[in-house]
């Protein structure tokens, strides 16, 4: 189960899977049951998406009793980030991101 980059990009190339990662970012360590709640996806589809995310090492799991907990694992995304964003760009990319974020927040307020 060695995660390679292709698996990471394929896993990310799906809105439902990105949504599952968003949900884990908001609340880390959820069970399958919790991740199925308030979702229009079937339990079967969520299970399949989680398996692909786990194979890509974007989701890490631990057992707590009989329950399996799912955690967001952004380490492979950090590897992709450092591959293309070097030390000189870092500050500028962050500044642009902050600017965009600030503009969007402003729009929402209006």
């Amino acid at each position: 189960m060695v995660a390679d980059e292709d698996k990471v990009f394929k896993a990310l190339a799906d809105a439902s899977r990105r949504q599952l990662l968003d949900r884990l970012r908001r609340k880390n360590g959820q069970t399958l049951q919790e991740l199925c709640e308030g979702h229009d996806m079937s339990r079967q589809a969520v299970t399949k998406h989680l398996r692909l995310l786990e194979e890509a090492n974007l989701v890490a799991t631990t057992k707590r009793g009989r329950e399996k907990l799912h955690f967001l694992n952004p380490v492979p995304i950090n590897e992709i980030y450092t591959r293309w964003i070097g030390k000189f760009e870092q500050g500028r990319v962050q500044a642009l991101h902050n600017l965009k974020q600030a503009m969007q927040d402003k729009e929402k307020d209006q």
Binding site: V2, N28, L69, F71, N73, V75, N78, G86, K87, F88
Partner: protein, 156 residues
């Protein structure tokens, strides 16, 4: 739930991964900090800044130590040392999986909503991908050359 579980796969041996985590000469290269302890259960450990003052910015106790496969430490800011509610726990699990080492880092017992809980999600992914790069290529992450707290970190 304010626990974090991080996993990374590294082309190395468990002993090399253990050494990279527990040897300050290595941690300063990819972490930008010197991590110092004798790693015996009950001993203290310190995360020391690389600046001239050498201030300690994180500390704790070695709770379990089973080289090269398992290390559990408590994790607390020096000023909160006496405060149990501010003390969290970090576990490193190192195991061979096929040709690669699977490194799990579990950070739990965090106080919900604390600065620490928020800061963790920025810190570990960078440290772990730095560790992977360091072990697989022998190079430190370029990031640290830009990091104010690590003026001595050399980029290979």
């Amino acid at each position: 739930m304010s626990d974090f579980v991080y996993v990374t796969y590294i082309k190395a041996t468990p002993q090399k991964v253990w050494n990279a985590i527990t040897t300050p000469e290595f941690t300063r290269q990819y972490w930008g900090m010197a991590i110092v302890s004798d790693w015996k259960p009950g001993s203290k450990w310190d995360m020391v800044n690389l600046d001239a003052a050498g201030s300690v910015n994180m500390t704790g106790e070695v709770l379990e130590s089973d080289p090269p496969s398992r290390l559990m430490i408590s994790w607390v800011k020096p000023e909160n040392r006496a405060d149990k509610s501010e003390t969290s726990r970090v576990t490193f699990e190192i195991e061979m999986q096929g040709e690669m080492v699977r490194l799990n880092v579990i950070h739990d017992q965090l106080k919900p909503g604390s600065d620490m809980a928020r800061g963790i999600s920025n810190g570990w992914p960078r440290v772990l991908s730095g560790l992977k790069t360091f072990l697989e290529t022998g190079h430190a992450l370029a990031d640290w050359a830009n990091c104010k707290s690590a003026p001595q970190a050399k980029v290979a």
